[in-house]
Amino acid sequence: MNILYLGPYRLNTTDGYDSLNTLLTLSTNKTNNIIARPIFLNNQTSDINNNIPKNIRPLEQKQGDHIDMIIQHTDIDSAVYTSDIKYQLLWVLNNKLLPQTYQKLKYKFLHDKIGFITSNKYSSACLYNAEIINNTFYMRNPYNSSMNEQPTTGIFDFGLYNRYIKYYTIVGEDMLDEISDIVVQFIRKFQQDSACLLVFMTNINQSVLDKYNNLISQIYKNLKIHHTINKIIIVPIEPSINAIDTAHTTGDIYISLEDNIYHTIAQYKNKMIIHNQSEMYLGYSIKNLSPETTILYKTPLDINNFEQNTRRSSTSLELNINQIVDSYVKSFNK
């Protein structure tokens, strides 16, 4: 089958990272002929990845006057439907739960015509809000090791924290509730230990960094914990392959906030993983937090609650991109 993949794989962003991984995974299935075209979204031309793996370029050189399937990895505003192509899949880049009214109309228009891919709870919630129920495929994103042709052996240097046990996670900007949750847990549980918490954050600027640092100070204050050493560090990083790899090499115990590619890479690198995929509703607010606040955690941040050297087996609902392609074609032809 001739498959045209359109995605932001040339961008040095989290979406670009996901897209590159997906494209490489697609290209591993040699029964399909993959043609790739990059998309640059929302004027993100300051975030160009100039070091994409060399096996991507031949996919871009290919022409195709006959395309059987198109996979669009883009935002809902840019997504199109074309009657020229039989099979069409759309993986919407959208971290907002609530699509606007005009976007909902577009979802409805596309619903009967194409298949949707979702890969995390945000895009799932978005599709749910747009009343997209059928023809949806949940993607598990296996890490494609050819993404990093030169694996890094470097680590980030944190000075005196280097000898601590380093709990770590990797997130984008908009994870305030999740970060608050693990910070509170960490301070209550591990403040006295030789442990630190590293929060690697992609795509953030100084004002966001200040916001999170203020949050951490607020939590310490509300919990009335005096500390001479701040054991929680927000680390801004690029969403580049090297930086993500280095983050994983630096940290010891990965705190997984959702099933995403960072989780998959942690598995691939045999890191200890703690699942902290609690619901977004915390049941308390930082403002009212005090040493006496009782907090019930759905999945406590517990060193005993980790997985090691086990790859989580996918549920029957989770597929990789090649399985989604096959599954969609089968369901289309029923």
């Binding site: 031309t45 100039n50 871009e60 669009q72 199109v80």
Partner: protein, 282 residues
Amino acid sequence: MLNHSINNILHCLLNKRITAYYAGNNNSLFLEYLLKNDQLNVKKQPVGPFDCIIHDDPVQYSQIISQLSEKYHVNSIILFHNIAPQALKKEDKHILYNKIRSQYKIFFNHGVQKSWGFPLDDKTHILSYGIDRVEPTIKNKQTIIVNITKNPEINRLYQYLKQSINCDLLEEISTDYKKTLELLSEYKIIIVINDPFTTILCASFGGHVFSSTPIIDTNIHNITIIDDFGAIQQEIMKILNNNTSTKLKDTYFQTNFDINQFDVKFLNILHTARQRPYIYET
């Protein structure tokens, strides 16, 4: 229908006929030729999908390149009709080159390419114009000034000239493009300002052309380059009184400005531009 970058990408892959969006601001006979060319579909508005962008003002284009190409995800072809402005320093040309180096460039003669100082690479082409043939007509009209761009300066020149000589003004191109060419071919003298294509086209009709643009083709003798149009009346009267015929043989234009060859080469460049995926490079 709104234009979507994805629609453009699909159009490049799936459609045989090339569609181009002309993003410039200039009316010209060259543009009119492109618009009427049935081997290619050129539009002046970004409505519906297209395969590439054509622009004919390199300096202006370099300032909007990000918005255009990024928004539409197609490659661009920049046309260089004129030599580089004198005000443009070497460093400015270097900056301009870097901004547009990943896009396709067409220079319409070696002299123009040299004046811009851009290196020759796989995206740089030197192409001769293609000149449409017009059947020979009797030249029973005196003088005409071409002002399709509706430049007020040219209009002032027309107002000045018509006080003393028989002079017409061409401001609109007929819906039948050939009719415009036939009209021009009836004049003994044609005045063309800042338009190398129209200068050569009008020279091919056999009359005399006064042009502000240096035309670096020493074989074309019926073009006079004028810096100062203040003294043009005397020059016009000289030509009219001498009634000299400096008509080049038709074969010169047919051989050196062959329209079919131009079409093939121009389309080939557009085809190459649309086949290459649009990649924003820093």
